[in-house]
Symmetry: C2
Subunit: 262 residues, 2 copies
Amino acid sequence: MAAEKRGDGTVGKALDVLNEVAEIGSPVRFSSLLKTSKYPKATLYRLLQTLLNQDMLSYNDEEQTYKLGLKLVRMAHAAWLQSSLAPIALPFIDELSDKVGETVHLAQLDNGQVLYVDKRNPSSPIEMYSQAGKVGPAYCTGVGKAMMAFLDEESLSRVISKQAFFKYTDFTITSEKALRKELTTIKKQGIAFDKQEHEVKIICISSPILSAKGRVIGGLSITSSIDIHSLESLQEFKPQLLKTSELIGKEAGAWNFPEQNN
Amino acid sequence: MAAEKRGDGTVGKALDVLNEVAEIGSPVRFSSLLKTSKYPKATLYRLLQTLLNQDMLSYNDEEQTYKLGLKLVRMAHAAWLQSSLAPIALPFIDELSDKVGETVHLAQLDNGQVLYVDKRNPSSPIEMYSQAGKVGPAYCTGVGKAMMAFLDEESLSRVISKQAFFKYTDFTITSEKALRKELTTIKKQGIAFDKQEHEVKIICISSPILSAKGRVIGGLSITSSIDIHSLESLQEFKPQLLKTSELIGKEAGAWNFPEQNN
DNA sequence: AACTAAGTTCCATTATTTGGAAATAGGGGT
DNA sequence: ACCCCTATTTCCAAATAATGGAACTTAGTT
């Protein structure tokens, strides 16, 4: 037995299709989905109809395209409230961002990737769309490395196996060996840096958020650009960053926030 | 024809269960769900397992509780990007919020309710998902009334039939008749006010966002409290509010934003 | 009108879901 | 330790829903 891979009957298939639409990221036509999809025409068609009925997708008559439905936005609000660290961490992040005057990110590990669940940007609002819900690579971001460094070996291997090691910049770590070495250093120092590994000019200092039992429940970072800060000057935020992470970890414990196992 | 009720096979049932968990808003035990649910024990159990497998739900071993999964947060980001007015409206809202220095909300009608898809709060920093994804009543909010006022009769009846007419404050409109009268005035003036109808002390001025063909695609509001503004002083924002709404409507047209039919 | 590509429906076959009932796991309490 | 009560999980034959190849419809082209 062992349905090792995916596949919970029809529901699994439907969510699969939903994911495909999500990943494409823009309105898609039926025929376009059909080309990628592993499901036969009639099946795919019916799955799409069902998802439409359920408001998980919306359909544009004129363009004949499908896209994700607003119902998801609605549900996600509930999910964010009840499943992310964000509501718990909120006051601490506000305070940290006020004090340091830089962009602060709160993230969690989700399926080997970094899922940003909150963000504070004290200065300008413009830049990008909201970060909550956005995902990024774990192996080349500050929060990602900070969280990985404190995983137990089993979880770590699982997460590492999901890394793409794509070379975003000249500084991106592109091998498991180099990554593991870096993680050892990070664990020793309690702090991770992103040295322009994901985006040119963007650097950050980051720490894991640990539960009372020492398990990783999230990550916190202060981000800046090399036009404003050097790695050394980011260092100065270390005490405040660690303090905030610790406070969030404590608070999470008080709220029974689950120890995850990604 | 007309599958009047709900029910797209198993997928529908699974999403139903997901909704139930979402609506409860906090981690739930199996037995607790079972009491509310229309599905028999074994069925409910398997649906929950499937949703767990798919990361739509997460399970807390110690507490034996289910809650919404992070996958939803992730998907919602994609949904927000591709299905809401927010990305299109972003620059216009930034500008409006800068100019007026007050809280600005962007909303859409979703299933008879107001779904907030973006928010700017010039004073305190952005707390993204704390508002995006939030829903509110249509009959007693500025954006809700502004949008309703410009619906065609068919859509309007549908939306009105979904209103609860709960009396939140002394000023809440609690009958269809009174609401329809108010909507007529709003349509004439092109602007709606929330006169503490939803929350005491909170007032707002609001306008619909219309497509080129005059169909409602969203709503925009400037919110304040009676401690700071009177209705008369909110009036002063009318030209800017209308202008911004118009610009967003135009831009949406350029991007082929679909005319919805709520 | 004939051709083509895209989208939709049909329906006999097959695979999944169903749900009552029984088994199992967890607590207390005595 | 034992029993009892409750909550959760598993089983399995019957019932139902999903499947997908093929046929059909629609819209756009030559």
